[in-house]
Structure formats: C-alpha cells, structure tokens
Amino acid sequence: MIVNNLFLTPLFLPILAASIILIAKSFLSVKARQFFEYFGIVLGLLLPILIVILLYPYVIHNGSISIIIGSYTPKIGILYKFDSLSLVMIVLTNLLTLPAWIYSRSTNTSHSYFTVLILLQSAIIAGISMTCDIFNLFVCLEVMGLIAYVLIASKNEKNAVFAAFNYMMYSSSSMIFFLLGSFGLYRLVGSLTYQEIAKTLVTLSSKDQNIAMICLILMIVPILIRVAIMPLSGWLVNAHSKAPHAVSAILSGILIKIPLFVLIRLFSISPLMHNLTLVLSYMGSATALIGVILALSQSDAKKLLAYHSISQIGYIVTSWSLALHHGIETTLGSVLLIAALFHAFSHAIFKGLLFLSIGTATDAAGSRDVYKIRVVNQRLYNKGEKYPLTMICFFIGALSIMAIPPFNGFFSKSLLTYYIKPSINYTILSIASIGTIASFIKLSKIFLPSKEIEKPIKELNTSKFPFSIHLSLIILAALSLLTGIFAKEIFNLLERMFISTNIKPIKYSIFFSKTNVLKTLYTGLGGILLFVIATSKYGSKILHKLRMVKNDFIDQYVAYAITLALFFWVLIV
C-alpha cells in the first residue's frame, strides 16, 4: 500500500514546496524567503528523484504499478500508471531543471516566482508522464503550456511578449481541437481511460471506428505542435530565441520532449494507428535536414541554436516513430526507443550547456550577431571572469552536438543511426550531421581574435562574475562528459528497464568499430568543406535569401490544416 502512494510523490511534493514558498513570500521577510526557496528546491526537485530511484527495483520486477487515485471505482475515477517510461521522464525533468535554476539565481529580481513556476512545472510533468486518462492529460497539457507562456514572457521585453503571444494563440487554439476529439471519443465509448477506450474500440462498427480515428487524429496533432516537427514548428524559433537564457535551456531540453513520449501511450489505444508511424518518420528526417539548413543561414546566435533544436528533435522523432513501427514489444523496437530516450537526455544536457554559455557570451559582448562579434573572451574577462570557463564549456557543448567522442552526443547519435540503417532515413540523417558540424564551426567564430584594432580591451575587472553561472555550466559540462564515458552502463540500465527478455541486443562494438570511426571522420571533413562553401560569396548569397523567408501568423494554421489532412488521408483513405 505504501508503494502505491509513493509513486505519486513526484506529483505532490513539488506542489507542496511551491505552496510553502508562497506562504513565505507573503508573510515573511526577504531573508527568510531565500531560505525557503532553497528548502523548496530540495524538497521539490531533489527528493522526488531519490524516491523515484528507490522505486526502480519495483519497476524492474513488476513492470508497472497502477492505481486509481483515491481508490474509487474504475468507471469514473482517474487511473495512474507508473512504468519505466515515467521513471525516465521524471528523472530527466528534475535533473535538468536544476542547472537552469542555478543559472537564474544570477539574473532574476522577482525570483521566487521563477522558482514556484519551475516547481509547478516539474509536478505537472510528473502528472503527464503517469496519467492514463484523456481529460487529465488535457488539463496537465494546458498547465504545462501556460507555464511555458509565462516563463517566455517573464523577461517583460516586447520581443519576448510577442513570441509568447504567438505561441499561446497557436497552442491554445489547437488544444480546443483536442477537447473536441475527446468529446467524440467519450460519446462513442463512455469512459475516459485509455484502457477502456482500447477495449471498447474493437467492438464498434466500422463507421464508428472511422470517427474514432478522426478523434484520435484531432488529439494527436495538438501534441505534435508542442513537439515542433517541421510543418508545425513555426512558433519555436521566436519563442526559444527571445526568451531568457535559463528558460530557453528548459524549453529546449524538456518541454519539447515530454509530449513526444506521452504519445506512445496514445498510440497504443488502437492498432490502426500503426499506419501513421512511417509517415511520421519521414517527417522527422525531413525536419532534421531542413532544420540544419536553416540553422546554417542564421546570423543571430540564439536563433541558430533554436533551429538546431528543431533539427535534433527531428532525429528523436525519427527513431521514436521507427520504434513504434516495429512495435515496442519487439527487441528492435525497444532498442530504437532506448536510442530515442538517450538522445533526448543527452540533447537536453548539451543544448542546455550551449544556450547558457552562448547566453552569457552574448550578454557580455552586447550583441547577438554571429558575423559581427569577435574576441568574446576579452569581454568576459572584463566582466570579471578569470579563466575562460564559458569558452571551454561552449566547446564541450559544441563537440557533443557534433558527435565527437568521448562526449555523449557521439554515443547517442551512433546508436540511433546504426539501428535505423536500412532505410532512406539513414542517408538523410547523415547529411544532417554534416550540416550540424558546419554550423557550429560558424558559431564558434565568435571566440576568434578579430582583425580590426579596437579600443583598449583589457579593463580593470573590479566586478565579480556571478558564481552561479559558473556552477551551472560546470554541472552541465560534467554531466555531458560523464554520460559519455559511462554510456555503456547507462545503456545497460535502460535495457534492463525496457527489454523484457534476457537477451542484450545492443552490441557495444559498434561504437568504436572501423565503420563508425571512419564515418565520424568523413562527417567532420564534410562539415569543414560545407563551412568553406557556405562562407564563400555564392554560398552567402543563398544563405541570405534563406534568412529572409518570412513566417506569418496564418502560415502556422495552414501548416496545421495540411498536417490534419495528411493524417486523415493516411489513416482513413
């Protein structure tokens, strides 16, 4: 009985911590508020990780734990199920919110609101990953979205507010379609739980089954908007680039991955959804390629990183959809799912590292234009930084995303591309890797010495560089290195959680085999070649044209309608 209630603690503890911080904020003085904030973070972010790790043996042993909340009848109550997927998602969220929170200690003035929002977000993500009920999913997705809009607009600058407004209109109107889909499903089935719907769906007539498929499409596409696959990713560039730096790290790292893994449960409702998975994998690889081409053409540093987020989520979606295509119970499907999860985890780490370090660097340099700023080290030295730690951390992040050993990007990308080998997705993703290397060489030019002689650069640094920035960067860089070195052990752990039989299908020889090392070398050379082409005269003209492509408000909805029509055509016709 105690175990049944223990797995609800990641949902409940952060909310309790947030309410304690609020009471402290309204009734106590400023000093006491600081203490309660630290206490709240320990109670709300660290304690759930420990509890969830304690539950790991149960999950391995039993497969999953499920209860009805409040022990009411299953016809009306809400069903919650905790399995290995929820465990990974909760650990991912709580672990990666921590460095972003530490970074934000250095900048924010109305700080307790930021802490409260982070804690509520971690609670709601725990709820999303465990729920098995349609309407509870709707409520939790809306809360997650609202927290994202408020966090983006928290900078109170007009660009950030407009980006948040755009995202809000798009996402809220699509959630209305989600509600309409759940109306259709409830009318056909009479219950809101996934398992009940799956059971009743096979007994309906064929006309009713078509209507149920339409309702499921109406429920899946709004979630795909949050994941930002290519036609539906018009909101992401502005939202991630104009937000404050800690918020960009959280958005890119966590909030675009969680809806994807929740879709696994929705896809298991009906076996007819299987036809969609191949289409989704092609959409994913196209996203990876187009994202990286658009990233190469950007001049704003944070927009470049935002387009890279789109490209990397394309990798994850490709692997995830191929996992669903082969079936999650089979070994190949489980391995692809593990590859997608590990890439999601390592992407969160190195993208967080990149956003935070580039954010600090561009703040010190005063502008974000990649073509104009140089010698950022000097500016950081002027702000009080004694060792070039920001530059080192940026290079660790860049090496990770370019898939160079021994960092974690190398292991996750190798695993992903090895197991999707015999399809066209493999070629597209390999081309995308070349583009990644080229654009990061472009981005690291900001640390080079500049050609012009400027005014005297070395000033007296009397200001102290905030320690929290360094601490967060060091934590993320250490995580990146450690998850790379211990990748084998982590894969072992994930295999035990997701694969039910005793065979261990991941061959560890693939990482340092001759083909893989040669492939990395060729990709690196191709990246340097592409960079040289892109900075030549002809290349820069093409890139300039790409940069001028405009994205209207209406275009987002046209993309939404086209995606709906595409899925409708694939499933029903």
């Binding site: 309407f135 809009y149 408020v150 007009k158 407009f162």
Partner: protein, 115 residues
C-alpha cells in the same frame, strides 16, 4: 436534434475564421473565446439528451442528465478564462510598447527595432 449541433458547429467555424483572419489582436482573442464556448456548449448539450432533470439526488428525481461533462466543462471554462486573461495582459503590454494593436504593424515595428 441535429440542427442544434450544426448551429454550434457554425459558431465554431466563425470563431476559427476570426482567429486566423482578423488583424486586430483583440479580435483574435475574441475568436479564441468563441472557439472555447462552442465546444463547451456542444458537450453540455449532447450530455443533456439522456435525462430530464438536473443531477441533484433527491427523493423525487428519477431521470438525471449525465453529470460528467458538466464537471469536465467547469475545468475547461476556467482554463479558457485564464488564457483570455493572460492574452489580454500581453495585448496591453504590446500596445503600450509598440503603439498599435494590428499584428502586422507590431511585427514590422519589432523588426525595425531589432535592426
């Protein structure tokens, strides 16, 4: 009857067209409100077909309507109100800092300030 559902569907389409085609931000927010209200109405209307009386258990009631959609729609209405409040606050902020409520002019002015 089917005519009521079709009419609610037309409110839905009106809200959707308002959301995507109107240039004024406040009109877009009104369109979003219309979308929410139409789905709420549809849910509750359909649920009230299976009974006659309000769902309060008493000695005399025999045939109550389905109470689950009513409870779900309470939540949906509150979510709609919250989104409206937040978007109106953003609209006020955008107006005060860029001087216009038209979405194309706001985009133009934000780009000009960036460069």
């Amino acid at each position: 009857m089917i005519i009521e559902r079709v009419l609610i569907f037309f409110i839905f389409i009106t809200g959707f067209i308002g959301l995507i085609s109107m240039k004024n931000i406040i009109k877009k927010i009104i369109g979003l409100n219309l979308l929410t209200s139409s789905v709420v109405l549809l849910f509750i209307l359909e649920a009230s077909r299976i009974g006659d009386e309000a769902p309060i258990i008493d000695n005399k009631v025999q045939n109550i309507v389905d109470p689950i959609p009513q409870a779900l729609m309470l939540t949906a209405i509150v979510i709609g109100v919250c989104v409206t409040a937040l978007s109106l606050a953003m609209a006020v902020r955008l107006y005060k800092t860029t001087g216009s409520l038209d979405i194309e002019i706001i985009k133009q002015r934000l780009e000009d300030d960036c460069e």
